[in-house]
């Protein structure tokens, strides 16, 4: 039996984490079929069909799929599920909202947010905000699995030519109505996918001082993060929060400035490839996870950091 991957898209194009989810799906079974449910989503369907590891694309189109409402999506997936051993999608807000609804209809105990496929029925997943890893074996005949996108590499996105099969749309769920979506527009990379994240904490002392973080981030082409303490103090808006209760990030470089390193913050960034901590308290817990620690007053260190960056001939973007 094959794996059914639920594609995430915006009706114009695939959203990037779909590629990571396809990688995870292909590690469960090489027979990966991708389901795309949308409205006027022909371009995204085409992109999906060009992914080499995708063997077949199932496309469902109807006006009531325009806004990805889980109540509309789940009956379509449940109906197709009989032909598949696994249903897979990303554990971001799209998949978290959708998959349990599918799993309950299939009477399956979902395995959420896996970071590794050990075998087709056994997976590794973080619990307690990443403070422990659990190896979970599913004994359900049909398995619903959501994957942590940053734990899997994106798959190759061109060169394939999977067949596209149209599937009949389901009925509209009338008790849920989409009103609006306000996307945060920014020239900066998205916090969840940025290669570099520069974060500030309570040590920044004010919202005004957060400009120092912004300058460094601009120079490095980085996203801006913050600790919960900085968000609670009102220095920066809450969509920047990194941690157990904010976003979990896994960038190549994470720079923590004026962040002490509370458990709840570490849970959101300690899987980053390289961690830098700048803090004047040499005993701060953030240093225990930092590859490079600098014990210094951040108000002296940040201008120097800018100066040193300006001396470099090139900066990777």
């Amino acid at each position: 039996m094959a794996v059914l991957l639920i594609a995430e898209h915006n009706n114009k194009e695939l959203r990037p984490f779909t590629l990571n989810a396809i990688t995870a799906a292909s590690q469960i079974d090489t027979e990966v079929h991708a389901l795309i449910i949308g409205h006027n989503s022909a371009e995204a369907v085409k992109q999906l069909s060009e992914i080499p590891v995708v063997k077949k694309v199932l496309s469902v189109e109807a006006a009531h799929y325009e806004n990805f409402t889980a109540e509309n999506f789940s009956p379509v997936i449940v109906k197709l599920a009989e032909n598949y051993s696994h249903i897979v999608c990303s554990a971001n807000t799209f998949g978290k909202n959708l998959m349990p609804r599918v799993a309950a209809h299939l009477d399956t105990s979902q395995v959420s947010d896996i970071i590794k496929v050990i075998s087709p029925d056994t997976f590794l997943r973080p619990i307690y905000a990443g403070n422990a890893f659990a190896t979970i074996k599913s004994n359900d005949t049909k398995k619903c699995v959501t994957i942590r996108p940053t734990s899997f590499e994106p798959c190759e996105s061109s060169g394939g030519s999977a067949a596209i099969e149209k599937v009949e749309a389901g009925e509209e769920f009338s008790n849920t109505k989409f009103i609006k979506r306000e996307e945060i527009k920014s020239d900066r990379p998205e916090l969840g996918t940025a290669r570099i994240v520069v974060s500030g904490g309570r040590g920044m002392q004010s919202g005004d001082n957060f400009k120092l973080i912004t300058e460094i981030a601009d120079k490095l082409g980085a996203a801006i993060g913050a600790s919960r303490a900085a968000v609670d103090a009102g220095y920066v808006s809450n969509d920047h929060q990194v941690g157990q209760t904010g976003k979990v990030v896994v960038p190549d470089l994470y720079i923590a400035i004026g962040i002490s390193g509370a458990i709840q913050h570490l849970a959101g960034m300690k899987e980053s490839k390289v961690i830098v901590a700048i803090n004047k308290d040499g005993e701060a817990p953030i240093f225990s996870v930092a590859d490079y620690g600098l014990e210094a007053d951040l108000f002296e260190a940040i201008p120097q950091f800018m100066e040193e960056l300006n001396k470099l001939n090139t900066i990777q973007k």
Binding site: S112, D113, I263
Partner: protein, 249 residues
């Protein structure tokens, strides 16, 4: 409107958890336990709606072992009117909890069911959506703002791209984000009063729900430790290391 609020007892969010040496799970003996943080937001929101005159009764429910009842008692102290404790020992998966809640919903007939978006122990993020599927009710997950309008709710949801607003008809399920509100503390007089509020105890076995786990937890281990880093002497050395050693800038 009647609101049912589901709460879960978990290890307190400020506790550094300890993995048992035999790999069988997380140590919970003598560890401080509390209500799952976003469940506190769910209770708070229900109380605010009642205070605004838009709800008539708040029922707090928990599913779990004997001591789980503490979380219901706490909910009663901040404004819930009565409690329900569905008693069951052992590991409970979200699917089993949602089936139990479905039975209670059938009996209690609430207009709304609130709960936290995720429990901070197993981090599953499933129960609300599963209950909503079993009842075929609308779901508003990750809610950061709720407006009650007659028999509808307008809910703002926290999504990866930003914010989404949806309108759902009652009866409905809402799972709450930490940003929804600031949970209040119970006052001492209210804690005393809560002791007199009724908590109905139900044995899970009486509900006719199969709660046997479908998942086997083969092993729980500590995440790989990061190798010890170094302290650099100054900013120049830091930038040089990032450029030439780590090669990340």
């Amino acid at each position: 409107m009647k609101i049912l609020v589901a709460v879960k007892r978990v290890i307190d969010y400020n506790v550094q958890i300890r993995v048992k040496e035999d790999g069988s799970g997380i140590a919970t003996d003598n560890v401080k336990m509390s209500t799952n943080p976003p469940d506190d937001n769910a209770i708070e929101e229900a109380v605010k709606i009642k205070e605004a005159g838009k709800a008539t009764e708040i029922v707090a429910i928990t599913v779990g072992e004997e001591k789980a009842q503490e979380t219901v008692r706490k909910a009663l102290a901040v404004g819930a009117d009565r409690g329900i404790h569905v008693k069951v020992d052992g590991i409970l998966e979200p699917l089993a909890v949602s089936k139990i809640l479905q039975k209670v919903v059938d009996k209690e007939k609430p207009d709304l069911v609130f709960m936290g978006k995720q429990a901070i122990d197993d981090d599953c993020n499933q129960t609300g959506q599963m209950l909503s599927a079993l009842l075929n009710w609308p779901q508003a997950t990750f809610a950061s703002k709720i407006e009650v309008k007659d028999n509808k709710l307008e809910v703002t949801r926290e999504i990866d791209e930003g914010l989404e607003t949806i309108e759902i008809n009652v009866p409905a399920i809402v799972t709450c984000d930490l940003r929804l509100n600031e949970p209040r503390y119970a006052s001492l007089p209210n804690i005393m009063k809560a002791k007199k509020k009724p908590i109905e105890e139900i044995a899970a076995s009486d509900l006719g729900v199969d709660v046997a786990p479908r998942l086997e937890q083969l092993k729980v281990e500590e995440p790989p430790k990061r190798k010890a880093g170094i302290k650099v002497a100054n900013v120049a050395e830091l930038v040089q290391k990032l450029k030439n050693e780590a090669k990340v800038i």
